[in-house]
Amino acid sequence: MSKQILNIEKLCVSIGDKEILKGLDLQIGEGETHVIMGPNGAGKSTLGNTLMGKEEYEVTSGKIDFYGEDLLEMKTDERAKKGLFMTFQNPIEVPGVRLSEFVRSSCEALGNKMSLWNFKKAAAEQMKVLNMDTAYLDRELNVGFSGGEKKKAEIFQLLMLKPKLAILDETDSGLDVDAVRTVSEGVKAYQEQTHGALLIITHSTKILESLDVDKVHVIYNGKVVAEGDASLIDEINENGFEKYMKE
């Protein structure tokens, strides 16, 4: 196993009075691609949001280390600065803020200050990978974007921000076959360009077909109930989650 960058131990997370994660363990090594699978309500998205530090997700016990540092002590922006990133399932619309302005400000916040010219050049290159028209740069952030356009814009940010660990939260949900392929191309480009690690949260497996997966974790009722290599994906595709839902 390569150098460990993320270490989650016995993580318990509640929203309000409801406990969602109940002692979850997970380790990710540098450059590795991990997949989180599980039925609806298992706690998959809670894991993503907790890693990113969303306010209403309260960590009641357990720990998360990222590059040896206590992630739970950091604010969301500090986590991003350490190299953590998440694509949103349904990213919020922000009227009046242009996609270019948003991504350029983000790059700057992460220490990559670019001239407008260099930014546009870099953006055009990454948009090509995603089959996106550069006219999107001038669009208001996610405003009026279709589901597919939103997902592409998220992957575009992934390619521009080059994190060390990217969480993809249901990036393939609600996409048609072509859009899944494009998004998958984008994720592959991220792996090739940055050799960054991935934590792919999904309940379908279309996006995984063209990616090399190192490890699969099945979550049910707030815990990891099974782990394995990529072959576990096929197994689940055939038999579903039922056999893991015995508890």
Partner: protein, 469 residues
């Protein structure tokens, strides 16, 4: 994440807050008496009619009551206001001739720079008088007149100026128009002849420096038939702990099929009473466009109004006001439809923060003869916390059944979801909020020339600074 907010008294506005020593300036005594008005008139070498006009206005001012409907102005004591402060500088048409400290002030505000790159002409007023006025030769050769107001009163267009002066904003309208008529000084006169299109904007910048003073500049713009002009007005003042007063008057005459765009960025310090009046009258087929950014001031009363007199004349208003601690901004606009098939489009936005108070008043009047008039008014408010206040007060007075009038008002706050999204990309909470607010103001900044849009975004950032503990 901490929810706690730091209370900020006033932001550090750096370039706007530098105060020059005013030891060399000439001031009339504080207060408002017939004697002071006569001295002022003498100082300014007014024509006789103007002196009489001032005295008449003073009388009206003393007879009229204070406005009873807006923010309280008890803190404004006219007996403590210097109505006239003449800088120790003669008006120059080259920046080299402007005294060093005054020139430096305008350099900091970026005026000479903007003049070189993006303006056709500039007037720069410092306290009560213009210290600089210049216009590009090509524009002058087109027959465009752009001068300080005193020259206009004596120059080639003296009769026209006399004919128009304070006829659109009359001293009888309200107490502060009467005050303006009595003590006005400085300002600009612009005349664009028939058919002349001025391709690059003209700008007047009004800079306040003297403590406890008033600024009462008069702007009169006449755009003749088929002509086209973009005029930019900028204002700023440093911060003092005593009341300062700004009561300017802007009168705009838009001819047949002419177009006038009037853009303003006001950045007052938070001790300023900004009781300002602006009015435009538009002839057949003419078009009036207002773009307005109101920042700072303690109290503002500001409602640019438009009279769509000619058939098929149109008006568009885009404005934003930002109110924070200790500010009570009463802003909005007024439009009167008289001509047939006239149309108006109004977009106002307000941002309230840290206990700031915004009231947006809009008034649409459609007269019986204005058949086929159309008006769309949209007012959006953004509240950054629960201690701030925002009111929208629309008035519609429609006297024909053949009009299409709509009004829409929305109020919102910054969603935690949006802040989380931006922070997940590395932005601090403060930067995330500032970016969201800039986005809210985006439709206004898009209407401004690039440099001014940048200035407005900068002002928003300054206002948003230090709001999160």
């Amino acid at each position: 994440m901490s929810e706690e907010k730091t209370y900020v008294e006033d932001v550090n506005r750096t370039i706007y807050d530098v105060i020059d020593d005013d030891k060399d300036s000439f001031k009339l005594e504080q207060g408002l008496t017939e004697d002071i008005i006569l001295q002022l008139s003498e100082e300014k070498k007014d024509p006789e009619w103007m002196r009489d006009f001032r005295l008449k206005c003073l009388k009206l001012y003393n007879e009229m009551t204070f406005p009873q409907w807006g923010p309280g102005i008890e803190g404004l004591d006219m007996n403590r206001i210097y109505t006239y402060v003449r800088p120790n500088a003669k008006m120059a048409n080259s920046w080299e001739e402007v005294p060093e400290d005054i020139k430096n002030t305008f350099e900091r505000l970026g005026i000479p720079q903007a003049e070189r790159t993006s303006l056709a002409g500039v007037g720069a007023q410092y306290d009560s008088e213009l210290v600089y006025h210049n216009m590009q030769k090509e524009v002058e050769e087109q027959g465009v007149i752009y001068t300080d107001f005193e020259s206009a009163l004596k120059g080639e267009y003296a009769d026209l100026v006399r004919e128009k002066f304070m006829t659109l904003l009359t001293p009888n309208d309200h107490k502060y128009n009467a005050l303006h008529g009595a003590v006005w000084s400085g300002g600009s006169f612009v005349y664009v002849p028939k058919g002349v299109k001025v391709s690059v904007p003209l700008q007047s910048y009004f800079r306040f420096n003297a403590k406890g003073a008033g600024q009462f500049e008069h702007t009169l713009i006449i755009v003749e038939e088929g002509a086209d002009l973009h005029f930019i007005e900028g204002c700023s003042a440093p911060k003092y702990n005593v009341a300062n007063l700004h009561t300017g008057a802007v009168e705009l005459f838009v001819g047949k099929n002419a177009r006038l765009r009037y853009s303003t960025i006001e950045s007052w310090s938070k001790n300023m009473y900004n009781l300002n009046s602006k009015r435009s009258i538009v002839e057949e087929g003419g078009r009036m466009e207002w773009v307005s950014g109101s920042f700072g001031s303690h109290i503002s009363y500001l409602y640019p109004s438009t009279i769509l007199k000619g058939d098929n004349s149109t008006m568009e208003y885009t404005g934003i006001a930002f109110g924070s601690t200790g500010q009570d901004l009463d802003t909005g606009m007024k439009v009167i439809h008289i001509g047939k098939n006239t149309s108006s489009v109004v977009n106002t936005k307000s941002i309230s923060k840290n206990g700031g108070c915004n009231t947006t008043r809009t008034s649409v009047q459609v007269m019986p003869q204005a058949k086929g008039a159309k008006s769309v008014v949209s007012c959006e408010s953004l509240m950054l916390d629960s201690e701030s206040r925002s009111d929208t007060i629309p008035v519609m007075d429609i006297r024909t059944d053949d009009a299409d009038v709509g009004h829409e008002a929305t109020i919102g706050s910054i969603s935690d979801e949006a802040v989380f999204y931006m922070m997940s990309r590395g932005m601090s909470e403060e930067d995330a909020r500032a970016l969201i607010v800039s986005g809210f103001a985006d439709n206004v900044s898009r209407e401004l020339p690039m440099e001014y849009a940048a200035e407005m975004n900068n002002l928003i950032r300054l206002e948003m600074k230090g709001t999160i503990g």
